[in-house]
Subunit: 334 residues, 2 copies
Amino acid sequence: MNPTTSDAEVAAERLAEFYEPVADEMRLVESRLRKEMQSRYPFVDELVRYGCMLGGKRLRPALLLLTAKACGEVREEHIVLATVLEMIHTATLVHDDVLDRAEQRRRLATVNSRWDNEASILLGDFLFSHAFFLASTTGDAFACREIGLSTNRVCEGEIRQKGSRGQYDLAEDEYLDIIDAKTAELCACACHLGAHYAGATADVVEQMTHFGRELGIAFQIADDLLDLYGNEDDIGKSLGTDLDQRLLTLPTIYTLRESTVEDRGRLLSAMQEESPELHSLLFDAFSRYDAVAYTRRRGDEYVAKAIRRLSPLSDSPAKSVLDRIARFVVDRSF
Amino acid sequence: MNPTTSDAEVAAERLAEFYEPVADEMRLVESRLRKEMQSRYPFVDELVRYGCMLGGKRLRPALLLLTAKACGEVREEHIVLATVLEMIHTATLVHDDVLDRAEQRRRLATVNSRWDNEASILLGDFLFSHAFFLASTTGDAFACREIGLSTNRVCEGEIRQKGSRGQYDLAEDEYLDIIDAKTAELCACACHLGAHYAGATADVVEQMTHFGRELGIAFQIADDLLDLYGNEDDIGKSLGTDLDQRLLTLPTIYTLRESTVEDRGRLLSAMQEESPELHSLLFDAFSRYDAVAYTRRRGDEYVAKAIRRLSPLSDSPAKSVLDRIARFVVDRSF
């Protein structure tokens, strides 16, 4: 169950406030995105403009720009590469919506529900391709290489996640490695490019890359928890889209690992048989084994690690906002 | 209706013979492709290795390498970029198979039929991403840019083709422009990169780019004709996959344009109503208006244009094979 629209709106407002130190640069990214996402062919134009609206919170561009500002100055490359990352992220969302058969995203009909799966596949491909092209306009093969490497890992992560369906013995390490690839990698890439093109030292670039990765992992842990619990009004009303797709996330992995032989056996049978009792068995086990507290603790650990990565930076509004965003991603997901 | 397997096999054998002047380099591309298309994660590995087998005839790498050899020497960049183009082509095939709900490709089950649509989408994304990454390993942003631009046009062409479904007044120029984008663009890119990295003059690079484009257009015209007529055993047994998808190709565009008001009216109604009589009406009209002869003539014109582009090159086995490939694509498609 996802957060309600009002939660999402509150989150978006709070994020906009976080983006304040790079507000002008975020506007440049937004107009660059709109400029790139158009076409002289009417149907292509309609489709890509629609795609442009689906992204939403622009977390990756913001991480890139805030890192750049916290490390030095925002340059033209930063604007271009922030746009590139948002396009790649949007491509993965558009393709995810086909896989998840999602009908809505951020109050808008998904491309697959407004048009069809074919339109989603082609729009996603257009976005990937256009993003790589745009990266090449920096004239720097390094940018193309970093973005290519990160996108490879995102795609690999998505495939690994698919391969993990119904894998009820998924270990916590493997889960973390998959979310690192499918979610945290682009956040790490954003911070890496932000620091690199601001002329940061190799050590700072490395620390900032870790910052992005750890923040991304914490974000996904919190997001997976929201998938099970939603907001408070909805607690326990559904199994969550992950379990519906036979994907294990941290609360379930932890509970299966910590539970008694009897509890584990009962849960595994209910999962394998997709038993109607799974829901009550699982939420009952979460509560007996304190799975939510454990999951929150793991998320908090990643946030704490991420925040420590900021220590080499001198104080600045951008640095302080990076610190606050890291705390915010586990406090309330969006 | 597609050519039978034995036709495809004959075509593949004839092509292998054409590739003789770059046989060693084609082997390097093949082994590079196998090296790039693997993963340390078992499910990813299984999927990408399977994808590697779906490409088949390796026309684009061959065009790139033959152009390189006809213009100068084959270099490491050529091997890398030939591999890149084959990966991009394979990505589009894998996604096309989802759109066409195809079950077989080159005697192999498609990814969507062996696994599911999700696997196809993710594999195609992996291939796009990996191709762009690989292009960046040349260290030359020019290569990334050219490949990005071409892939943008391919994606745009695919979207425009989708947008042209049921557009029964599609003009010949628009049809040609769409096949230029969705098919000929990657052939043009292959010849462009082949000539550029062999150190050809700007004029030769331009001529070779035209050569690839014109050859690609002729290839697609012939391919669309095969979709309607298949090989001789199958003549007229089916409407063809294009018309099933309400896509007009050259024989139909020509016939609608040239036919009397009565004939046109009858054909348009049959198309709009998806009438069971469409098949006999259409093939009868093709025959009365000589649509096949017209289509063949248009294909031949593109081949003749393409061949004239080769005149600035000195004679060589590679040049002579480029000439023969251009003639072959309309003689027998594959």
